[in-house]
Symmetry: D2
Subunit: 366 residues, 4 copies
Amino acid sequence: MAGNTFGTLFKVTTWGESHGTGLGAVIDGCPPGIELTEEMIQAELERRRPGKGGATSPRKEPDRVRIMSGTFRPDDGGCELTTGTPISLVIMNKDAHSKSYNHLQNVFRPGHGDLTYQSKYGIRDHRGGGRASARETAARVAAGAVAGRLLAEYSMNVQAYTVALGGISADKRDLKVVSENRLFCPDSEAAARMEERIAEVRSLGDTLGGIVEIRAVCPPGLGEPVFDKLDGELARALMSIGAVKGVEIGAGFAAASMLGSENNDAISPAGFLGNNSGGILAGISSGEHLIIRVAVKPIPSIHKEQQTVNIDNEPVSIKVGGRHDISAIPRIIPVCEAMVRLTLADHLLRQLPILHVRETLRNHGV
Amino acid sequence: MAGNTFGTLFKVTTWGESHGTGLGAVIDGCPPGIELTEEMIQAELERRRPGKGGATSPRKEPDRVRIMSGTFRPDDGGCELTTGTPISLVIMNKDAHSKSYNHLQNVFRPGHGDLTYQSKYGIRDHRGGGRASARETAARVAAGAVAGRLLAEYSMNVQAYTVALGGISADKRDLKVVSENRLFCPDSEAAARMEERIAEVRSLGDTLGGIVEIRAVCPPGLGEPVFDKLDGELARALMSIGAVKGVEIGAGFAAASMLGSENNDAISPAGFLGNNSGGILAGISSGEHLIIRVAVKPIPSIHKEQQTVNIDNEPVSIKVGGRHDISAIPRIIPVCEAMVRLTLADHLLRQLPILHVRETLRNHGV
Amino acid sequence: MAGNTFGTLFKVTTWGESHGTGLGAVIDGCPPGIELTEEMIQAELERRRPGKGGATSPRKEPDRVRIMSGTFRPDDGGCELTTGTPISLVIMNKDAHSKSYNHLQNVFRPGHGDLTYQSKYGIRDHRGGGRASARETAARVAAGAVAGRLLAEYSMNVQAYTVALGGISADKRDLKVVSENRLFCPDSEAAARMEERIAEVRSLGDTLGGIVEIRAVCPPGLGEPVFDKLDGELARALMSIGAVKGVEIGAGFAAASMLGSENNDAISPAGFLGNNSGGILAGISSGEHLIIRVAVKPIPSIHKEQQTVNIDNEPVSIKVGGRHDISAIPRIIPVCEAMVRLTLADHLLRQLPILHVRETLRNHGV
Amino acid sequence: MAGNTFGTLFKVTTWGESHGTGLGAVIDGCPPGIELTEEMIQAELERRRPGKGGATSPRKEPDRVRIMSGTFRPDDGGCELTTGTPISLVIMNKDAHSKSYNHLQNVFRPGHGDLTYQSKYGIRDHRGGGRASARETAARVAAGAVAGRLLAEYSMNVQAYTVALGGISADKRDLKVVSENRLFCPDSEAAARMEERIAEVRSLGDTLGGIVEIRAVCPPGLGEPVFDKLDGELARALMSIGAVKGVEIGAGFAAASMLGSENNDAISPAGFLGNNSGGILAGISSGEHLIIRVAVKPIPSIHKEQQTVNIDNEPVSIKVGGRHDISAIPRIIPVCEAMVRLTLADHLLRQLPILHVRETLRNHGV
């Protein structure tokens, strides 16, 4: 029960189904005094919106976010600031073609949560996947935009990009070109081949997976041993995105076949001489860039006949229609960024009391 | 702050440093009436103990666990049962050669948490890695044994085994042979080659990483969308083990290059026809076996000269002596099992209220 | 930080300011399959609404609640049921005369949270008290109505009533008459005298406090020692209502001057022979009625000149105008009920896993 | 389930039964760098120890606390400092006459938790009340002493004292004399009469209740609206002590019969001109002294025949023998202080991120 809240101090609770009235997030624990407008949040939502990019679905949701509480303009002519009280964000659903899901009410689509939701709860809102829809991540992106505002005050930032799609890998990490192609790929040439692969697979009625890498600028000292280590928290945050089936930090799975002498990052007075650790040692950030990669599975809604069962456990075959993306990439990119931002904002706040007490003790001459 | 508690209902708090007085765990939320003796816990600890297996260190800790509270023998001649109150487990440290760490007090070992602990807290117990020592996991294994007692009542179980070590992969999953070799490998022939690789690398003063797979029998319905999904929780649990740098579920990273039609597990009236999902769909267990793999990095304590800095940020070179394992495998095997047990016990308890209410409503004719 | 969530399993997060866009609650952890409609929630909100009862303010808020998520009508013609996903409730603000608060922007009203909010956050939404407004409790009442739906399935219920107001005490506990007078007083004669007192004090521009008693039907076994005892949790829940300055259980403060032999409730095969314990022993419900009383302070907004300071710490005097109640009673009555319902729903869910495991063990013949 | 942890950031988990092996506390979240020795904790335990004061039992427990983890002496000759890792405290039980409880194994003592524990868990450690024993509070006092060390760095302190016992009230608040009488009463003359009353009631085989007041020096800004208000949190903390049946803040229940104009504390440039609020407005500390009073029920173990039932629900009469106090006062005094300290330490840490961010924003010129 009760799994819809994320974070200890920067706490986000999300709600909403794909074809319900709307969806939203409540952020409890955002510090006061930070400039925050609907436009700032909207800008992030635009990057996640359906209908953008060649791999995405044609559902046309305006995804207009509204700040319902938690900000205030204290002075005439001043800017909208957070007040320290809960920030409630609401996005109304508009373009929900619920009727087109009627035939799925009693059938469990392979690769989807239909069967597991039914089995857990004994009831489910089948329309568009209900709570299990990728649409749920709009609330995460909105909340992550608020977290990003806090991180910016501490010179922290987060960027995600596509490093593999449909079996094609990016060989370069040229972050300047990430915003120049619609797959957010740091290798323009690879991006072009990925687009070809998408077109090819679209014509087959099939879908594609890929790998997203996330890089973050993070000060040392974040992460709470032993269970709330920063890498564990990031893994949970990212694995809580529906399409993600694997997470690795720094060298990740490659470390499994390295020698200790290869994997250890030597240290010099100017900093670390490598980053196999992905910026985290013993669960605490080292000050190096955080490097995380996630495996994104292919979208399970395919235009091909599949074998499954209905609610009476009778065999049926289905061909999922509707408006679907070919790949969760690139729309998952801002979602990955959001989850990393939320994790870092929470761990930043968890570290601040330690910094404050250390400063206080220093002032006492301890 | 405050990262040493794991779980929402089956809650475990651990404490202790490698060379302090001892270490332990407090389990709050274990249901009453479950048989539990020190011997049951001790049996798990034996599997993790130093001095077992060719890849492990010669430190000789008896690792005797003592149950300090939370159990009671209500009847003369009956068995020791949990009472529902906190179960406190204590393991005293005996064979702690703290003095052998004096030369490391002001030096940061590469690949260890020395630098990050110092940077976070401004102080650290350097002896044997302090809280960041792998010795900390003894408390997890002890707590996991208690979780295992609860799981057994619900016919759940968890088994971990080595599927790669030092670049050598197990080709088979013959679980019968896992207990027959000291690397817990389900492929006897691969195990023999792994042992050779260990011997070779030991002579070089270097260390090895590998991959552990965990399989669990789990009923459908466990996991709490959207942030406390079962896969996310498992990822966090396993990534909170010091040596783990990657986690994948089911097909994991391989799913990134599959087509949707390949990756989707078809469903028949007799159950799923594949398990690329690793037993989890939309964050909820499906009833199939849970399949999880973790990447284990090579042990950072190597007998080779390494470049680093001291507490005054001056360049120094060190060669880490002391008693160290060549690989975290196989001692990490029971630790992985423990973390999965703790996660499943917690999520089992979180699902029980839903089952109870559903049953109550059925009885009301709803 | 992050104090706007209540509960461990039946988790409620509220948001909203008095004169912002609206307010609401997200309920995460309501079990699936429970009938829930907007009308059911609305009925509770009607009892709390301004403009009802002689002691209340003339602000005219329709307080229409909208269920944004978490319910679904699975069958044509069937009823709206909870799905186990978060239930988001929104109430829009309509009749917010923000301008009438402009003169209070830089002045701290005595007895209000103006000064403490400013001092904590360095910023505050001064309009109508912002987040500290009693209006915030509408969200609690809405969430409490959902909790009440769950409690009803377990034959639990909660009733609050006025036992003192303006120094006049109810001598009787005639619960049948509670709904017959607008002060929810179980003593009709006392209620009449309370109304007279209200009229008298209104003409003086002053306000009144009182005492509310809450009675709940509760099964044995609820409450989690040692820190989450049921009495402690109820105390926190009720003391978190702005106007409440004291909470007592059973005999309460009167127990302080009793002898042990007087205070102990003897036990017979038919049950307890008294209820000085208020239905809770060692933090666990006994099966007797829960009896709780709360002290309600007089409303701080009075039509009399008061001495205070402004934001520059200069002495000023103010006379608070606007639309205010004479007493928090009776509108606090449904708020008290809501907080007790939320507490009991949470503790009911926390006890269900124990019941489920005990049943499972019994079936195993343990 | 899982009710033995207190706090969000300064997190304390306690364990142990009255007649088990021992009891203890794990503190997770104590900041690093604070001087802490066993002697500092022992000093607080001495104040709570049985065998002190005329109203207390003759059980002779040395109550020696041992710090098992979380402190370190970084420099030769320096002092023992906290490291930021969990502080585990253990107190072994020595003088446990378990056999003397054999006759109570199947009988439920009135006023105790025997019946409710049995009903909740289906099993209980009956010896000395098991987990429900007042002995459990030794762990709270030990943990509270650690909290006190943190508070001292922020110039905060907490003092509790007896303001009523056996119907006799202290008329004065002469805090200088509190340590001069063994009832910790701020009115020497009243203390003498209380002692007479104790002697009288002891000869009757009966027991007494009373009222304890707690005063704390606390900076403004602590407390987290709307559910984690400081007054609510204090109420929960104190009501979680077994003998406490009521809590009030500032004017408390007396406020219920005041007018608003009497109850409001006017404000001047030099501060508040009264303290009916008890130092808390809208759930946030105002900077005035916190003033809290708790109602302490008479000890239920009396040397008089009482009517009750056994485990088969048959009527029996019992006369509780053994070693018991006449009143929970004065031994409850350090327990009340401990719970207030734990609450304030937690809320201090929860406010520090806000202070840190506000300072950071100021430095950015916001």
